[in-house]
């Protein structure tokens, strides 16, 4: 694995720990499961995600 690819992998792990989904994974899921649906842009995807994540209020611990 080249260095930039490694770095990208690290970034993805950190994002997932913080609870941020992976756009590439969503694109892959959409292509596999619902190829007929339109593909959101990366910006649309994250805006929609942040909105829905906190829509019911995030559960948070003491």
């Amino acid at each position: 694995m080249t260095l930039p690819l490694r770095l990208k992998a690290v970034v993805r792990v950190c994002r997932q720990i913080a609870g941020m989904p992976d756009y590439q994974a969503y694109v892959a899921h959409l292509a596999a499961a619902h190829p007929e649906r339109p593909l959101p842009t990366e910006r649309e995807f994250y805006e929609e995600f942040v909105r829905s994540k906190y829509a019911g209020g995030a559960s948070r611990c003491c």
């Binding site: 995600f49 994540k53 906190y54 209020g57 995030a58 003491c62």
Partner: protein
Amino acid sequence: MSILVWLVISVAGAAGWAALALHRGETINAAWLVLAAVCSYAVAYRFYSRFLATRVARLDDKRITPAHRLANGRDFVPTSRWILFGHHFAAIAGAGPLVGPVLAAQFGYLPGTIWIIVGVIFGGAVQDFIILAGSTRRDGKSLGQMAKEEIGPFTGVLAMIAILAIMVILIAVLALIIVKALAQSPWGVFTLLCTIPIALAMGLWMKAIRPGHTLEATAGGVVLLLFALVAGGWVAASPTLGPIFTLSATTISWGLMGYGFIASVLPVWLLLAPRDYLSTFVKVGTIFALAVGIALSLPVMHLPALTRFVDGTGPVFAGHLFPFCFITIACGAISGFHALVSSGTTPKMLDKESDARPIGYGAMLMESFVAVMAMCAASILQPGVYFAMNAPLALLGGSTAGAVQAVQHWGFTLAPGQMEALAHSVGETTLLARTGGAPTLAVGMAQILSGAFGPSLTALWYHFAIMFEALFILTTIDAGTRVGRFMVQELGGYLWQPLAQTSSWLSTIVASGAIVAAWGWFLLQGVNDPLGGINSLWPLFGIANQLLAAVALSVGTTLIIRASRVRYVWVTIVPLVWLLAVTSTASWQKVFDKDPHLGFLAHAADIATQITAGAIDPAKGGRLIFNDHVDAILCGLFLVITWAVVVASARVWLHSTTNPGPVAAAHALSAEAA
């Protein structure tokens, strides 16, 4: 070979415990405590969690998890177990496991440590694991939904009221901790204020400039945060700026209420989401740094194993060792709040059923270890310093000279000038009566970290620790007020329909205002309390959190019984019975005990006598009496709700054990796939 390894680990753990139990000298190295904890966790994880996974829950990797079955690429996403472990741990660990042990150190380090370790192995980790496994088998349903479906709709509503009441108390007590840490501290106030524009800038960056680039925005945020931390020192030293940022406790309280209200109605991407990322990374990083610091510096603990305050006369909070040690330390041993996370995002991301063991049981062991480190940080202080920092000002005679006398009277020593020197070394004007746990933890952490990484930066480490706690407490205030707002809208909708429209501005403002007023009222009560507020609010919070744990364990027991695993039901029944004994005794004593330091009603009567005698201003005394009555009613309410849930569950248990229905079995925790 593996038998040999586990034998060695068991013997090492036993040696750690033996050193703690038999040591009767002046001081002991914190390494023994860490050794006992780590070896106990390892043995419990290897053997007990394996038993829970294979026998009780019967985890089965052939069964498809909701992350695969309902995969949508967003919240239902199969996630590698280590990443999910990190995510789950970041979601459950907060200020709770850091503050509770510091307060419970008034009994000495031993009772709290035993409870943290034994409590997590047989209580907290079991609860988190069973709820996670149960929720995963039910498409990631929440605790409230499971209570409603498995026990009954009435229990579901009770659970919701309980969660709302706990949320209010939680926010109030956490806000009080910030207030106590930041009052008269320009350095701390400046740094915390800076976190708001930093989070806004991160939010705008992720929204408008580079969407989704969480990591680079967070990295930028952390750099700015560290700069704000250093700049805070310059501000505090400046003769013109210093006084501007020197605020009283009351001013900070009103500021927090204003912040909570505005933050909870702003769009999430602007403030809450970036703040969430910032505090997640700062939290994980700091906990890691603390572990490395303890490992490198191996500090010596000066606090005794047991203090004389096990008799209930302690200045930090009132009450005997039983039940109050077990109320004071909730998070870290068993925390009902975790049941909300274990039935929230985590079950939707579980790749394989067997991952529930490291994530449900393992992450809770990790949180328990955070609590053990907090206990170490408090215990390395001189006992005299610990009590001078954590007793209310009224008991310390109001001055450093008075504090020296008061501490001597309690049987510890405090040199004249010692507190001033310590305050100066961490860049504060005073450390007397800095109750609430955060400043004590910060002093302990500053000693550990400067012991490990060099002594020149003590003041910076202190304020780093304060900033780190305040940062995620602010996140909790924002998120908690928002959650509370949605709950008020949902519950209020039953009474007045328009309130249920979450998109309506009027409804949002009314509901947010109501929730801020509720926690703000308890916060101001705590700030104005002559005994410092933590004294009455922290036990209320502990009782509330353990109440939620009792609800979660009742639900867990129901899941086990419905799965026809009645013979293993003791895994949740034993901690449930213990929690019921603890919460019932504690609530009863908080309401009815005759000691005015302990019982709310006795305290109200005591104030009434003082008003008649002319010792207290009637208006002020009247307010104190009113506060006592509200606290007493709330405490009684918690007790009634707990028992109502347990009784409702017990009826289901009896019914299910006599005639298990086919429908129930199909949904059950470990029923075989249809």
